[in-house]
């Protein structure tokens, strides 16, 4: 069994939309996560790199402290040899620098208790070394260079300085070990960061490719839908053509039977009745034809156009050259339900006008009008014949035609009006524009 194509394609479209939405949500979540982890990794890397820089700084500061102390020793020797006070100033500057660097180291390694112990020992040894230097300087200033040299020879200062070098070497070794650790950690983090970036790029590429594929899938579904709809439309058109053909053929069959019957009867009244019936069938047939044609738009009934065409057809079919038909119609699209009743009313009115208003021996004029009248439509047919008998009312003469007009006018929700013109007869049907 064939599935309804609109339903199938509709659910396909729905599925495609849901897929696209899920993809978008996934993309946003993935981007957010990737961005957060990249940010975290970068922060982590930054901290790690800062630790490496810190270790370098500690090492430099320790080296500077040692250098300052060495400078103090050089200046001490210069002063003892020359007595030049410039050297004492250099000693003071070196001392100040050594103390400042030591304080800086102390502040830098505040996180590391083992190093702190070493720095405390370093401070003690440096103080001792500087104390020996101070003692020699005092002796030399007093002019006793020999005493100063003796003090140096005692070796306390040198021992303290050796201690300083040993502690510095220990501090250095520890910092060097830390540096290796931290550099390794930094390298790992860098690798992680690069990995994350690569993964991020991969995810983006995947999303892009998937989005592209989904888009092309969606386009395929759309093309498929259009194809199905076109097929459906073609089917519908074919079906409509078929129905139209059958209706017209059926009308022709009915008309043919009636015409054949009217030909075979000899009684003139019976023949006239059959001819009238044929006219009524044809009036309905013309409604169908106009509904189907209407400039390609199926189902539109232009009452004005219909009234004009039918009136001309009826008058022409009489073959009377002496009947002059005038029409005054406005184009109005009527509801389909109103089409057939209006057609039959018009058929009766024009047939009556031809029969009673224009007897065979008398030339005459017939006027057909259709247009709006306030909120109503008004269809009117008049002739300039001999007019109605006195006291005529539609109900008084129980002809089928008059009864039919009244009934059809009621069906349209309107009324049948018999007017009183100065000459001839005039009828109208007035009915609301919308029911």
């Amino acid at each position: 069994m064939a599935r309804d194509p609109t339903e199938v394609s509709g659910s396909n479209r729905q599925a495609a939309r849901e897929r696209a939405f899920r993809l978008l949500a996934g993309t946003v979540a993935a981007l957010f996560l990737a961005f957060a982890s990249l940010g975290g990794a970068f922060f982590w890397y930054d901290r790690s790199a800062a630790w490496v820089a810190h270790t370098h700084e500690v090492r430099n500061t320790i080296a500077d402290a040692l250098q300052a102390l060495t400078d103090v020793e050089s200046a001490q020797r210069g002063y003892i040899l020359t007595g030049d006070p410039t050297f004492t100033r250099q000693v003071e500057a070196g001392r100040a620098k050594a103390n400042a660097e030591l304080a800086a180291v102390d502040a830098l390694i505040v996180d590391n208790p083992a190093q702190q112990e070493r720095v405390a020992e370093l401070r003690r040894l440096m103080a001792k070394r500087l104390a020996v230097v101070d003692q020699t300087l005092v002796q030399r200033r007093a002019g006793d260079a020999v005493a100063a040299i003796r003090t140096i020879r005692r070796g306390e200062g040198i021992a303290a300085m050796n201690g300083v070098r040993r502690i510095v070497a220990e501090l250095e070794a520890e910092e060097a070990r830390l540096l290796v650790d931290r550099a390794r950690e930094t390298a790992i983090i860098r690798a992680v960061l690069i990995g994350l970036l690569a993964a991020f790029a991969l995810v983006l590429t995947f999303m892009f490719v998937k989005a592209q594929r989904d888009l092309s899938l969606d386009r395929e579904v759309e093309a498929d839908t259009a194809e199905r709809l076109a097929a459906l439309l073609a089917d519908r058109t074919l079906l409509l053509d078929e129905v139209n053909h059958r209706v017209k053929n059926s009308l022709q069959q009915i008309a043919s039977v009636v015409r054949l019957q009217s030909r075979s009867v000899t009684d003139s009244a019976a023949r006239e009745a059959l001819e009238k019936t044929l006219d009524r069938i044809m009036a309905v047939g013309r409604v169908h034809e106009q509904l189907y044609k209407s400039g390609g738009e199926v189902g539109v009934f232009d009452a004005g156009h219909y009234a004009k065409t039918l009136a001309h057809d009826l008058v022409d079919s009489m073959g009377r050259e002496d009947v002059q038909l005038t029409t005054e119609v406005e184009a109005h699209a009527l509801d389909l339900k109103q089409a057939v009743p209006l057609a039959l009313i018009l058929n009766e009115l024009v047939t009556n006008a031809l029969k009673y208003g224009c007897p065979a021996d008398r030339p005459c004029r017939i006027h057909v009008g259709f247009g709006t009248d306030g909120s109503d439509y008004r269809l009117s047919v008049s002739d300039d014949g001999t007019g109605l008998p006195n006291g005529f009312t539609p109900g008084s003469k129980k002809s089928l035609g008059m009864r039919a007009i009244e009934a059809l006018a009621r069906q349209l929700g309107g009324r049948f009006v018999v007017e009183q013109p100065e000459a001839g007869a005039a009828f109208a049907v007035v009915f609301p524009r919308s029911q």
Binding site: H245, N249, I254, M282
Partner: protein
């Protein structure tokens, strides 16, 4: 002017009606057929002046093809009578110089008008 006419229509009563109308107008109906094959055989023997052809015929035969053959081989022009005459069909048949295309239901007047064109030639 009296013409010798062939009527090709698959519905018997419609055919009878059309034949009656044509005879009322004073024409001779020389052949009647419900399908294209019979119509062709009759046309070859009777050589009508023109043919009234329904488009959809009995035994699933095609009035359009019949009309084409009638015109191409015998020089007989056709007047099409059908419930469904499409623009495509009109264009397709333009080459065989049809007398006209008449929509159903046919009236005495529409049939008369369609044939008047031919008799005046």
């Amino acid at each position: 002017m009296t013409m010798r006419i062939m009527v090709v229509e698959d519905d018997a009563l419609i055919a009878l009606d059309i034949v009656s109308l044509l005879e009322d107008m004073g024409h001779d109906v020389v052949a009647e057929a419900a399908d294209a094959c019979t119509a062709w055989e009759l046309a070859e023997g009777d050589r009508p002046d023109l043919a009234l052809v329904d488009i959809r015929l009995a035994k699933n035969t095609d009035g359009g093809k019949l009309a084409r053959k009638l015109y191409d081989l015998l020089g007989v022009r056709s007047l099409f009578i059908s419930g469904s005459i499409t623009e495509d069909f009109r264009e397709e048949m333009a080459a065989i110089n049809p007398i006209g295309f008449l929509g159903k239901p046919v009236t005495r007047r529409t049939l008369g008008d369609a044939l008047r064109g031919v008799t005046q030639h």
